[in-house]
Symmetry: C2
Subunit: 378 residues, 2 copies
């Protein structure tokens, strides 16, 4: 294998596939990046066996030559060293050449590295995925759907299925749901698909977070292929594979209350900042719990009290409050996470008493919903 490549393209590709490489792996060759050069271009692969990422650098793009392939071939190089090296090479052009026993020369300007390589034949094969059943969504919509749900997955392994996001495709609608059993985030979107297939799968939250990091904010369509135990995301010059989680995701539809007793419309930013301030004292003493009380004239009081440190209270004006008076306590972190995910200027909160879950939506958009369980303190 021998090729000459533009350094910035190589650096970008290496950074992308590095997202899948873990230093803690039981399969030593997976600490490496697989490099394959053929007449079409150079393909890099990184994998931790849960996630695999393949990045392709074409010989030519938009009429510009990016890679000059002098000899086809392949090698696996230590990811950590290879990625550091390409970042720090002195010139814009890099030459990579595999010699005897996979020993690989990396040349740029007057700098010459020789890295011990491994046989690419030893590298595990990526899952073979039938691409018949796929659907497409804009990349920026996919990133939004991930951002608005993935933060709510469980970080505890006591119920592994909750560490993933439940994706359901039915009636040309994609519904993403995450819950850690204290809160739930839901986002749905209409999908253009000719396939009549129904899907109900659980994608590891970590996979979705890593995917989101390497996707650009474009409206380009991304192809999604779901099989029994894998999901494949296909963007331009990029393949992202993730395993699916085994098991059935709990039915969350009954958790969402259909009626409410107190409804409040409020400015999201003011509400978020008041909770943030109240949580400054709450962090220490009471597991980050703040209180909300309706008072007169549409005012809402946010407060917190830590006997050893002090107390805080703040009144904010709601746009509208309907229904019963309310005193309720909740995790400041969960409500702040939800408000950030909703990204709305005005939000509606539907409460069903101090002991029941409450639902936060934006006034503009009913495609997303955040549900939070209160904390019993009163």
């Amino acid at each position: 294998m021998k090729f000459i490549i533009q350094r910035d393209k190589l650096v970008q590709s290496v950074q992308d596939v590095m997202k899948a490489v873990s230093s803690r792996t039981t399969i030593p060759i997976l600490t490496g990046i697989k490099i394959v050069a053929n007449s079409e271009g150079v393909t890099l692969t990184g994998s931790d066996s849960d996630i695999s990422i393949e990045s392709f650098i074409p010989v030519e793009e938009d009429g510009n030559e990016i890679v000059e392939i002098q000899q086809s071939g392949s090698v696996v190089l230590q990811a950590r060293f290879f990625s550091e090296i390409v970042k720090k090479l002195p010139k814009d052009i890099v030459e990579i050449e595999v010699g005897n026993q996979h020993s690989t020369i990396i040349r740029s300007g007057k700098a010459e590295f020789s890295l011990n390589g491994l046989d690419a034949e030893e590298y595990p094969h990526l899952p073979q995925i039938e691409e018949e059943n796929m659907f497409k969504i804009p990349t920026d919509l996919l990133k939004a759907m991930i951002r608005q749900t993935v933060f709510a997955v469980s970080t505890s392994e006591t119920r592994p299925i909750l560490t993933g996001v439940n994706w359901k495709l039915e009636n040309s609608e994609l519904i993403c749901i995450a819950t850690d059993s204290h809160r739930l985030a839901l986002r749905k979107a209409a999908i253009n698909t000719e396939s009549q297939n129904l899907y109900n799968v659980v994608i590891p939250g970590k996979s979705l977070s890593e995917l989101s990091k390497i996707l650009d904010d474009t409206s380009d369509l991304i192809e999604i292929v779901i099989t029994e135990n894998q999901v494949l995301f296909k963007a331009k010059n990029l393949l992202f594979f993730s395993r699916l989680l085994d098991g059935n995701y709990p039915d969350t539809s009954r958790l969402i209350p259909s009626e409410s007793k107190t409804n409040m419309t409020i400015n999201s930013k003011e509400f978020l900042q008041a909770i943030d301030r109240a949580s400054l004292l709450a962090k220490e003493a009471r597991n980050n719990v703040v209180k909300l009380s309706t008072i007169t004239d549409g005012m809402v009081e946010i407060s917190s009290n830590s006997p050893e440190i002090g107390k805080v209270s703040e009144e904010i004006q709601s746009s509208e409050i309907q229904g019963e008076e309310l005193k309720i306590s909740f995790s400041a972190k969960y409500v702040m996470d939800a408000l950030k995910a909703l990204e709305g200027t005005e939000i509606i909160i539907n409460f069903t008493g101090a002991m029941r879950p409450f639902v936060i939506r934006t006034t503009q958009d009913d495609s997303m919903l955040q549900l939070i369980l209160p904390v019993r303190t009163y």
Copy 2:
């Protein structure tokens, strides 16, 4: 105590004194910030007993009212909470009022915090320093002298005196020296002082680093007062006290070789980057050691070899090499630290053989010097 203050001035002052506050202290009241208000303004103090910082906010600056004092007084508030609170207050104006039992109200807009305070009388007194013998230097020069020496102090407590920087004032010249016994950094500067006092003290490296962080990059003069066991830096509205280290600093003058066998003039940036690249492989296997060899025609080879990972070599063109041929090994980190501290475009290195310390200077400026001990590998 009651006053109304501009939030941004308070935030800045709190951030400055926070640099001295440690959460790990054996004196509980030192986890707090002392606040004193009188007719001239508000003074904040933070201390970990090694370093003490006093920041003064005058009632008026440049004709603008900054503080309105409604009642003089004092209190000590928990630094961690107080600093977080002032940062997140909703409005530009903050009202602070001490009530019964040092309980302190912090009001801004509709947010109201009540913090449990402590009696300011319980707060330790700052050292009393006679200000007769002081000298002045421009703040930016002081920051440069700290930056160019403090990185070379020892981080090990086996010889505590080496964790400080040796400051010597003699013949109207200030000489700063730091060494961890593997390398030495020296910076000197002429000082305008009427005092004939000689000083030879050792200031903790940590104190100088913290001081440097809170000083602005101005050419305003800063006053320095040195006593038997304390040093005081006086900038505008800021007092910075540090204890001095006990003991005698070793005489380092004999370490610096007076003659040399190989002299090399080289571009600092190219040299630094080549060493940085060579160290990529050295980090792992050989304690960050790279090799330098003079080759023909004024070329210098920088190389490193880690049998398990690979090897790297790079040739760079020196401007001039005089004297004997040389092969020498050294810590990449020490040489990179030295080159960054020197900040020159062209540097001169004087070697006295592969086993002897070598000296790096810039071609423009002989007020600073970096000395490094080689590593024996040949």
